[in-house]
Symmetry: C2
Subunit: 141 residues, 2 copies
DNA sequence: GTAAAATATGCAACTTAGTTGCAAATATTT
DNA sequence: AAATATTTGCAACTAAGTTGCATATTTTAC
C-alpha cells in the first residue's frame, strides 16, 4: 500500500465517522496505522515528521478519534496513556497487550483471545474486558 | 477484628517481609486493609487520619510494599496508579477489577477468574495476566 | 466559487502525578 | 545506650494532561 493509499483510507475512515478531514487527524491516523501498536502522545508527536502538532492538538485529536471508536486507549505499565487503532477489536474485547518485562516493548497479541468474564450473581453488567500480559518477548526469552 | 488486631497483623506482615515496622508502613497497610479496593496515593493520604504522611513518603512506602509483594498496582481508567493489598492474588493472576462506567466506582471481583492466556507460538513467555472489566455496577444497572 | 457557520488548532498558563537529592528522624542491631 | 541501617520530610523538579481564548481551517449553504 503506497503512502497515498493509506491517506485515502484515513480520509474514508474520518468521513465515515463524520469527522472533519483535517491534516492533524489524517497524520495521526497514519502514524497509528504504521505503528501497529499503542503509542503515547509523545511517541505520536515524534513520529509525525515535519508537521509536528501541538501537544494539546494531539490530545484533542485522539479524543475525537476515541469518541467515534476509531482508536482505543490501552493500559500500560508506563504512566502515560497509549492509543492504538481500534482495528479488529470488537465492542466487547480487544486483543491482549503484552509487555516484555526485560526490554519494555509492547506487542499486540492478536492471535490470543480470552473468553469474556461472566457477570457474578450480584447484578454487575459487564460491557468490556481488557487484558494485559507481562512476561518475556521472543527476543528476551 | 479490633483496631489493634489489625495493627498486629500489619506488623506481622512487615516483619515476615523483613521491612522495618514504621508508623508509615503500618498506617498505609491499615488503610489498604480497610479499603478492600485499589486506592491512589491521594486517596490513601486522605484516609490516613491525623498522621498524614508526606506524598513522597507514601510513594516510597508503596514502593517498598510492592517490592516484597505485599501490595499490587492496579490499572484504572484514572490517570493515577492505584494500589491494593495483594491478598488472594497468585503469582500469575490477580482478581479482575471492575469499573462502573456510570458512577466510576471500582470493585474487586474476587469471585471471577479467567483462564490464563496461552503463549502464542512465536516464543512469548507469559508470566502475569491482568484483567480490567467495564460496565454497570448493581446500583447503576 | 464565496460567505457564513461549524469545528479544529496553537499558544500560554495551569493542574496533578510522580521523582530526586539531601538533611533530619526513627528503627534495628550490637 | 551507641552505632548502623533505613525511613521520612522538605524543597525543587519533570512529565502528563487540561482549559480558555483567539486564530485558522473545513464544511455547508447559497
Amino acid at each position: 500500500m503506497t503512502k497515498s493509499d493509506l491517506e485515502m483510507k484515513a480520509r474514508e475512515m474520518l468521513k465515515a465517522a463524520k469527522l472533519y478531514c483535517t491534516s492533524g487527524r489524517i497524520d495521526i491516523l497514519l502514524v497509528l496505522m504504521k505503528a501497529g501498536k499503542p503509542l503515547s502522545q509523545n511517541q505520536i508527536s515524534k513520529r509525525s515528521g515535519k508537521n509536528r502538532f501541538d501537544k494539546v492538538t494531539i490530545y484533542r485529536t485522539l479524543e475525537s478519534l476515541l469518541s467515534v471508536g476509531l482508536v482505543h486507549k490501552a493500559f500500560m505499565e508506563k504512566r502515560a496513556w497509549h492509543f492504538e487503532l481500534a482495528n479488529h477489536c470488537t465492542e466487547r474485547q480487544c486483543h491482549p497487550h503484552f509487555t516484555c518485562t526485560n526490554c519494555g516493548d509492547t506487542y499486540c497479541l492478536t492471535e490470543i483471545s480470552l473468553p469474556m468474564a461472566k457477570s457474578p450473581h450480584k447484578g454487575f453488567v459487564i460491557h468490556r474486558q481488557q487484558v494485559r500480559l507481562e512476561g518475556l518477548c521472543p527476543a528476551c526469552a
